[in-house]
Amino acid sequence: MVSSSDSLGNGFEPKILVFACNWCSYAGADLAGVSRLQMPPNCRVVRVMCSARVRPEFVITALSKGLDGVLVLGCHPGDCHYSEGNYFTRRRGLLLRKLLEYVGIEPERFQVRWVSASEGAKFAETVERVTEQIRALGPNRPRSEVLPTEPGDK
């Protein structure tokens, strides 16, 4: 499988899904880009208006389909553009980690972090750190158990 090794063909490269909220973390990611802060290429960002849009189903689906990690980024508590959204994110995050543990998925594969629009460096650091953490966990078990299927198969 192409995606299980980097362009040099060495080792395992995790594939990480990132949800970033429009007002803070997505802007922080943009700033990291504008500042040309280099980071590992393992993350794929999905934009949502608020981190509170992320329902547990997204995280569970992603992990059960074999993605190696899910990172949800939001505004710092107290700074949510919609006042309270990130409080929901925080609470859901805590519960969801317990659930993942219960079903046998390493809870570290799912992380919630706060990145503000001016924290380009923090976004880059977060991507680095989370990529390394998930790389150290190895491939997400469901993936290595999944047999190759037809492309486009959901």
Partner: protein, 566 residues
């Protein structure tokens, strides 16, 4: 059902993307994706050429979904959406993929991986685009009238500012006359003019204005509706009248704290508040020979932490007033910081000192003591800067107290569905950038109802509230970006999670065709998605960010790992 025909436009952005990502490869890849009918690359998709190409291809190829892979939607999305619209395609059938800030710029040393990532991001974008649906932006009419609650300086100024724009205003005042709190003040800082001289013409202008209908001795009983369409009932002498308005300004002011239990107020007859001092002496009584003014009474203490803002200025004003009437008078101001901020107040403070007013600093830990049996005779205080206790013989003690929130703020806050802050004053949407708006659209606040403020500040706030309150009325309608939530009544079980989750009170449970179900007031919906994620049945969805759309992106990414990417 027309087949979904997706057009993909991948931008080089000069060298910015093209220098790292192999753009032609991404275009090739895009062509292999399901539902993609057309794909091309552009040097600058945002240029005239790029935009024209998008429009041309929509026509030529019958494209009904557009995906642009370039920079960031935060700056360029409106531009591309407009291009789609101009070509006759609903602008919500457009999806943006970021392969510059999130890809080429941050993986400059790994072109192979950057290209791979760009392909995957485009795959995700196309998957979502397929599930996008055309949307119409919600528009709701605005009834061309405004309600101002409160007829003090702030309320009157707001009413005039609105009426002078030609807007119909209903001004509701609880007392029998206009003027509010400052009716009790004799002279105004910094001009030292007679209050009545300034207040009377203002009230006259309000009453005479053809666009303002004044309700005196009246109170707002109930409010229902939302921005553009509020139904208000006003009670006057037992009779209730119904008003219809588009926007509401809260200008209900505040009250002076009567510090019962502090400094023997209420016990000794010559211990009074600043307002009482104004009423007793500035309308013609004899000026007391020696006076101690104690500042921060009931303010900046653990039970009430805030600062009354303009009370230092009031104390200075009255101290100067006394010295000017009797240069031999002994006036002491006992303070814990002199809040003479800005230009005029600091000037005033200097002037007071030059006239001979003595300022003594005391510590909150060792407050002054008022001495005397049946009258206040002296004030004993630990002078913080001299380091010793002094006893000041006085004829009178004036207590400078802050404004406090009105008791019935709670009632009004529930009526209008707006919050109160920890001090009991109305809480604005954002302390820095939205100081006179509420999170609830269509309702605004100004003056002491929001926080103690002096007259220039209250009047500025009133004008500001009028500006904000006039916008929906001048526009004539409220238009909402079509990323709002919508509930499918057929699958809603009325659990109420969404109602609770919504930070803006935009969701309600209502009787509908399928029984009791959730209903989103689109005029109030901000498109955050809190309610959507809280919905256990998936009945609540967000336009442009539906579960199906997001899950398709996740699926598309996951497929890459099983199917491989060439």
């Amino acid at each position: 059902m027309p087949k979904t025909r997706v057009g993909v436009f991948v931008c080089h952005c000069g060298n910015n993307i093209g220098g790292v990502v192999r753009v032609p490869d991404v275009v090739e890849y895009a062509r292999t994706l399901p539902n993609v009918t057309y794909a091309e690359d552009n040097l600058y998709t945002c240029s005239e050429e790029g935009l024209s190409s998008i429009k041309d291809q929509i026509a030529k190829e019958g494209l009904n979904r557009i995906v642009v892979a370039s920079c960031t939607p935060r700056t360029h999305e409106p531009l591309f959406k407009k291009a789609c619209e101009e070509a006759g395609l609903n602008k919500y059938l457009f999806e943006f993929v970021n392969i510059r800030e999130h890809c080429s710029w941050v993986h400059m040393h790994d072109p192979a991986m950057a290209t791979q990532k760009a392909k995957e991001l485009v795959r995700m974008g196309v998957a979502k685009a397929v599930h996008l649906e055309p949307q119409e932006e919600f528009e709701s009419d605005v009834f061309p009238a405004a309600l101002v609650i409160g007829g003090g300086v702030a309320g009157m100024s707001a009413a005039l500012a609105l009426a002078n724009q030609g807007i119909q205003v209903h001004l509701v005042e609880r007392e029998q006359e206009l003027g509010g709190l400052i009716r009790g003040v004799q002279t105004l800082f910094p001009t030292e003019q007679d209050t009545d001289e300034l207040l009377r013409p203002l009230a006259e202008r309000v009453k005479a204005h053809p666009q303002i209908s004044v309700f005196l001795g009246s109170e707002v009983e109930s409010v229902s509706g939302f921005i553009g369409d509020f139904d208000v009932s006003v009670r006057t002498d037992g009779e209730v009248e119904g008003l219809r308005v588009g926007t509401i300004v809260v200008a209900t002011g505040a009250e002076e704290l009567k510090p019962v239990g502090l400094y023997r107020y209420g016990e000794l007859p010559n211990v009074v508040t600043q307002l009482e001092f104004e009423e007793q002496f500035k309308s013609g009584g004899d000026v007391p020979r020696s006076v101690a003014i104690i500042n921060c009474v009931g303010a900046r203490i653990p039970q009430r932490t805030y600062c009354g803002r303009f009370c230092c200025a009031t104390a200075i004003k009255n101290a100067i007033w006394m010295m000017e009437r009797d240069p031999e008078a002994r006036v002491y101001v006992l303070h814990r910081d002199v809040m003479a901020y800005g230009v005029e107040i600091e000037e005033f403070y200097q002037r007071a000192m030059e006239l001979g007013v003595r300022f003594l600093r005391y510590d909150v830990e060792s407050p002054p003591e008022v001495l005397g049996e049946d009258r206040a005779k002296a004030v004993k205080v630990q002078h913080q800067l001299m380091g010793k206790e002094v006893t000041l013989p006085v004829d009178m003690v004036v207590l400078t107290t802050p404004l406090v929130a009105r008791d019935d703020n709670g009632k009004l806050s529930k009526m209008l569905k707006v919050p109160l802050g920890s001090e009991g004053f109305f809480l604005e949407a954002h302390l820095k950038l939205r100081p006179i708006e509420f999170s609830t659209d269509g309702v605004y606040v100004c003056g002491a109802a929001r926080y103690p403020s002096n007259i220039p500040e209250s009047v500025s706030q009133a004008y500001a509230a009028a500006a904000k309150a006039s916008i929906p009325i001048r526009e004539g309608l409220v238009r909402v970006e079509a990323i709002t939530a919508v509930c499918d009544e057929r699958t809603c079980s009325a659990c109420g999670n969404c109602v609770e989750a919504c930070p803006f009170g935009a969701v309600e449970l209502q009787q509908g065709r399928f029984g009791r179900t959730a209903y989103v007031n689109t005029a109030l919906c901000k498109g955050c998605g809190c309610c959507v994620a809280a919905c256990p049945s998936g009945a609540m969805q967000q336009r442009g960010f539906s579960d199906r759309q997001v899950l398709s992106m996740i699926g598309a990414l996951a497929e890459v790992m099983t199917g491989g990417v060439e």
